[in-house]
Amino acid sequence: MPEQNKPTVLEADALARAWRRVAHEIAEAHAEPGAIILVGIQRGGVALALQLGETLGGIYRQTVAVGSVEPGLHRDDLSQRGMAELRPTELPGDLANKVVVLIDDVLSTGRTVRASIDAVMAFGRPQYIRLAVLIDRGHRELPIRPDFVGKNLPTHPDEHVEVRTDNSGAPIAVTIKK
């Protein structure tokens, strides 16, 4: 439901189609389902990773591993932002020969992704790390580019983009707040 000064810019239908396309693109790029681990970035990416895992499992007809990563301890802006609330990092012990697909809801500066890559590397050395995001809103501050994008959403730097998901982790609305 759209709230006051929080216009909904993307609705559930469009988001579901975009996110399903992302699943197909991942399946097309990576034919070996056993090697894939979808890793949701805490916290917005975790529910999306679970839901994407369901869709991708249907495409592969095989269960896809899903984990999570907490970027907080690896951030470069701790002294500007203050401490992050720490949430669990859940990754399988051995990442060798695996394809880690980092999942986040909104990509902007790229600093969270940079920290997440470092957090994954502290656990092991995957063969590939890929990045899938539901929304790319621009304003990158680091040389990071997503491999899979649901929607590109041009925004003003002062705006705040929020993705809401339902209980299954499916994205149901994207809102922009000034």
């Binding site: 301890l73 203050g82 992050a84 720490l86 502290a122 656990f123 092991g124």
Partner: protein
């Protein structure tokens, strides 16, 4: 999740929510300590000074390792190497440490209130690593962390603290933390070391060990602090061991899954029978492991907390 403090000076002034924030944060740091690469860059480029004006090995080493696992640089500054011998005041020494651009000063001092005193004029973050007989906040935090990990929840547990309560900063900090989190606390020991005044902190005081142990979920044993007693507070070590030492027969009064804790260093055969200290109910070594996770959480939170206020 709430933390807006620049320092960790005591447990007394913390809210239950702040205590829970430290414990939840420590849980994530414990995972860091269990993996192959036990280090995160959260405090990279920061300087921590271990300012220990009273002998200590285990707390100092624990803080040292905690700071290193957060990628901070840490230096140890202790009494024997310090200028106190040369007559410098605590304030001047602390200012000197700050002039080295220390970001966090971890202080252990024999005078109660020394960390609070430093916090008033230093810009650095101050962490109390034990001040006289007043408080030892990180020890209490690691104790409740260990209890919570084993028992799930602190509220409603019966925790018995046994031994030298009067001279124990560990007891004071533990009582504050346990009461704030809803545990029932019973204190027991020789009447000279367990004054009734502790009832004002919401504790039950008893001088009958069997009574103190009945129904206990957790037994926290404290060492007799010979170094803090100006005169002998009880007739002899032998009598103490006979009246207040934990042994297998007495342990039977507690709940079958009761935990045995000890902040160390322990005197085997005095406050605890030797085989109990090595038994499956003792979590004494887990307390040491958890101490690192809790101290990492404290260093991380006090450092980030100030930015969170801006």
């Amino acid at each position: 999740m709430s933390w807006h403090r620049k320092h960790l000076l005591d447990i007394e002034s913390l809210s239950p929510e702040e205590l829970t924030t430290v414990l939840d944060t420590a849980r994530e740091f414990k995972v860091v300590g269990e993996r192959d690469i036990k280090k995160v860059p959260a405090l990279q480029g920061k300087t921590v000074v271990n300012f220990f004006v009273e002998p200590s090995t285990r707390t100092r080493v624990s803080f040292e390792l905690s700071a290193k696992r957060l990628s901070a640089d840490i230096i140890n500054f202790s009494t024997d190497a310090s200028s106190f011998q040369k007559g410098e005041s605590l304030k001047d020494t602390a200012r000197t440490l700050e002039a080295l651009n220390a970001d966090i000063i971890v202080i252990r001092h024999k005078a109660a209130g020394a960390p609070h005193f430093l916090a008033r004029f230093l810009n650095a973050h101050v962490v109390n690593a034990g001040d006289g007989a007043h408080e030892h906040p990180t020890q209490a935090l690691l104790d409740v962390f260990t209890i919570r990990e084993k028992k799930g929840d602190i509220a409603g547990l019966n925790v018995t603290i046994l031994g030298d309560i009067l001279f124990s900063r560990v007891a004071r900090s533990n009582i504050w933390a346990l009461r704030k989190l809803g545990a029932n606390v019973t204190l027991c020991g020789p009447s000279t070391l367990v004054p009734r005044v502790f009832e004002q902190m919401g504790c039950r005081v008893t001088y009958d060990l069997d009574d103190a142990l009945t129904g206990a979920d957790v037994i926290n044993l404290l060492r007799i602090q010979h170094e803090r007693q100006r005169k002998t507070m009880f007739p002899s070590i032998g009598e103490y061991a006979r009246l207040f030492g934990l042994n297998r027969a007495r342990l039977a009064k507690a709940k079958p899954d009761a935990l045995i804790m000890h902040p160390g260093p322990m005197n085997r055969g005095v406050e605890i029978e030797s085989d109990l200290a090595d038994g499956d109910r003792a979590v004494i070594l887990e307390q040491v492991t958890n101490g690192i996770a809790v101290r990492m959480a404290v260093l991380y939170l006090v450092h980030g907390g100030i930015a969170g206020e801006l």
